[in-house]
């Protein structure tokens, strides 16, 4: 008797949430969990809720490397969510090819995505065999050096204007007990920092040849050797930053315990949450102050194919909400990223974002490595650079040899 009651009570707790909610609940999974990111995603949820539907937040902590396997296994395992974040590029390529993702071409043509999304490479990354499968939401660029003004003041040197000055200022920082360069222990951070150094030091053409054409000869050449020299400097400067997550590393810069960090523009959200002002509290150098070029990777939402008709309709609503000018502005201001539409007004953007918008307008852009390389090659690269940054006995020459092998076998 008692048992049955208990069972009934348990069943009620399970059933209730389903029956109380309307049919147009969409679960949206993403890995935006740091302070600035969570504030930004709340804007998306607010905009979607305003359409009468309901955003069920499915945040997965631990950055993309942890979140993506969970998302993919849910989709391939037959328990798809309503929508999910991926970095646009090749991460969801095979899911689309396997017919697990929803074709958004109808929504896209109705709302003229082709005309409004700038740069067009973003939509190209969503397009497979002429059909559009994802809605890009922001442009993230990796090529930024974030510097703590307070740290340089304490060390008694001027805030550097480019990478070389930063390297030259490193001994002074160390003397003042400050870690010159904060690099977190997660593998993607060191791999990303290397890509940034490559664009800044070797330039756009070399970057495109190595990652775009997978040209192993260039990868073995003198240009990349220079990049590895710089990475060696970065490795020495990063000694002592015993943190794992990127936002912990950013926090070292915010608190003045570290001089700087090479990190994408998502770091800006953290500075904002901490109440710091661009220019006075921190300085940003796009392209490390050497080559003002930014990559246009970013995030996009993919929509798994669902059987439920009402949910499928809600997916369309969400797709168009994401690209709505108002949502774009609200979301990107909080996130620190750039909007995917060229026609929105970002008057309230701060200095750093304006610098980014300028570069974008000039067309000094490259594709992100997520768009150019498969997840497999990216992982091999991460293994190499996390070892390189942690192991001082690995010479730049050895590392370059292994890098060349990865590029030669990349697909």
């Amino acid at each position: 008797m008692k048992l049955r009651l208990l069972a009934a009570a348990l069943a009620a707790t399970v059933v209730l949430p389903f029956s109380a909610a309307s049919a147009a609940d969409l679960e949206v999974t993403h890995w935006w969990t740091s302070g600035g990111e969570a504030a930004a995603v709340a804007e998306l949820a607010k905009a979607f809720d305003a359409t009468g539907n309901h955003w069920v937040d499915g945040a997965i902590a631990g950055s993309g490397g942890t979140a993506r396997p969970i998302m993919i296994s849910r989709i391939t395992g037959g328990d798809p969510m309503g929508a999910t974040q991926f970095n646009h590029g090749r991460q969801a390529e095979e899911l689309v090819e396997a017919g697990l993702m929803r074709d958004l071409t109808d929504v896209a043509t109705r709302e003229h995505w082709k005309d409004i999304i700038k740069p067009s490479s973003l939509l190209d990354s969503c397009t497979i065999e002429g059909k559009i499968y994802c809605a890009p939401v922001n442009i993230h660029s990796w090529q930024w050096l974030w510097l703590s003004n307070a740290a340089f003041k304490q060390a008694g040197v001027e805030v550097p204007k480019n990478w070389d000055e930063f390297v030259a200022a490193a001994p002074a920082l160390e003397k003042a007990g400050i870690i010159p360069l904060a690099v977190g222990g997660q593998p993607w951070q060191s791999a990303g920092a290397f890509d940034v150094l490559m664009v800044a030091i070797a330039g756009k053409d070399v970057f495109n040849k190595v990652f775009g054409d997978k040209d192993a000869e260039v990868a073995a050449g003198p240009d990349i050797a220079k990049v590895f020299k710089a990475a060696d400097d970065a490795r020495k400067m990063s000694k002592g930053s015993n943190v794992q997550d990127w936002n912990q590393a950013t926090n070292l810069v915010i608190t003045g315990k570290a001089g700087g960090q090479i990190m994408g523009d998502w770091a800006q959200g953290e500075f904002q949450v901490a109440g710091q002002k661009a220019g006075t509290d921190y300085t940003c150098l796009p392209g490390l102050g050497v080559n003002e070029i930014i990559s246009t990777g970013g995030d996009a939402f993919y929509f798994p194919l669902l059987k439920d008709e009402e949910k499928s309709k809600a997916q369309e609503v969400l797709a168009s909400t994401l690209l709505d000018p108002k949502t774009q502005v609200a979301f990107n201001l909080k996130k620190g990223s750039l909007p995917v539409r060229g026609d929105v007004d970002l008057a309230t953007a701060n200095d750093c974002m304006k610098k980014g918008l300028d570069i974008l307008a000039k067309g000094n852009v490259i594709q992100g490595t997520d768009q150019l390389l498969s997840a497999d090659s990216q992982k091999q690269k991460e293994d190499l650079f996390s070892e390189f940054f942690a192991n001082p006995s690995m010479t730049p020459e050895d590392a370059q040899k292994r890098f060349t092998d990865i590029i030669a076998s990349a697909d």
Binding site: G65, R68, P69, I72, S73, T76, Q91, E93, E94, L95, A98, G185, Q186, P187, N242, Q244, S374, A375, D376, Q378, K379, Q380, D383, S386, E387, F388, F389, A390, N391, R402, S409
Partner: protein, 300 residues
Amino acid sequence: MTGQAYAGRPNQLLRNLHSKIASIPMILTAVVIFLGGTLWTVFYSFTNSKLLPRLSFVGLDQYERLWAAPRWLVSIENLAIYGVFSLIFSLLIGFVLAALMDQKIRFENTFRTIFLYPFALSFIVTGLVWQWVLNPEFGVQSVVRSLGWTSFTFDPLYNQSIVIYGILIAALWQGTGLVMCLMLAGLRGIDEDIWKASRVDGIPMWKTYLFIIIPMMRPVFITTLVIIASGIVRVYDLVVAQTSGGPGIASEVPAKYVYDYMFQAQNLGQGFAASTMMLITVAIIIVPWAYLEFGGRKRG
């Protein structure tokens, strides 16, 4: 022996029918899920499956790449170090603790609970606890430094050459309690008369343990060995919680390689090849032993 089986009993199959029917689900699970899954994995390790399995064969390419990957080699080396030390130390510490416990001490229950308690924690929690204990800024190092030894350094988790021992410490802390309990059960199974006899013969206690008790505890040792060994091969969560493979790739283990390549790198073929290698390693150790233990000897 063999004749007995045929002696007027045509319905061998129907003997103990109930228990046979009851074990059908487990037999199906073992055959379909374990064996089937294993064969499927080995089969697909010869393909170049990426995110989803597909049938395009590439021969031994995945294995060639695997054995050329520095990270895999580091993983194997780590597993060997971790395996050997964790086997030796958990047996040694576990047995010594059990032997001490067996001296009819007071508060035995209390001690047993204390020693077994860590085993109630998952590897993830164990890993996080030890990550803090071994953290140079809050843990052991800072405590000792605050006592006056300011040059004291103990940061195994941030030092590439000893990081695997930092993981070993946590694993031993978690696992020895169970080994102790198993050993204690074994010791309690030894007849009191044996002790009395050895005392009458004037054999010192350590000799009794070494030459009489331990050989008698052979079945307990084998059970313990299997439990420890299976824990060694699958070590994954402890590493993820403590170092996530770092610094660099210095504390990577094979199981983590499998997971990372299957899911993060979206390269199932490579992950399957790695897991097949793990299976082969286990098989190389288990098969000859099992043959000696169960196959070689005729049983009555």
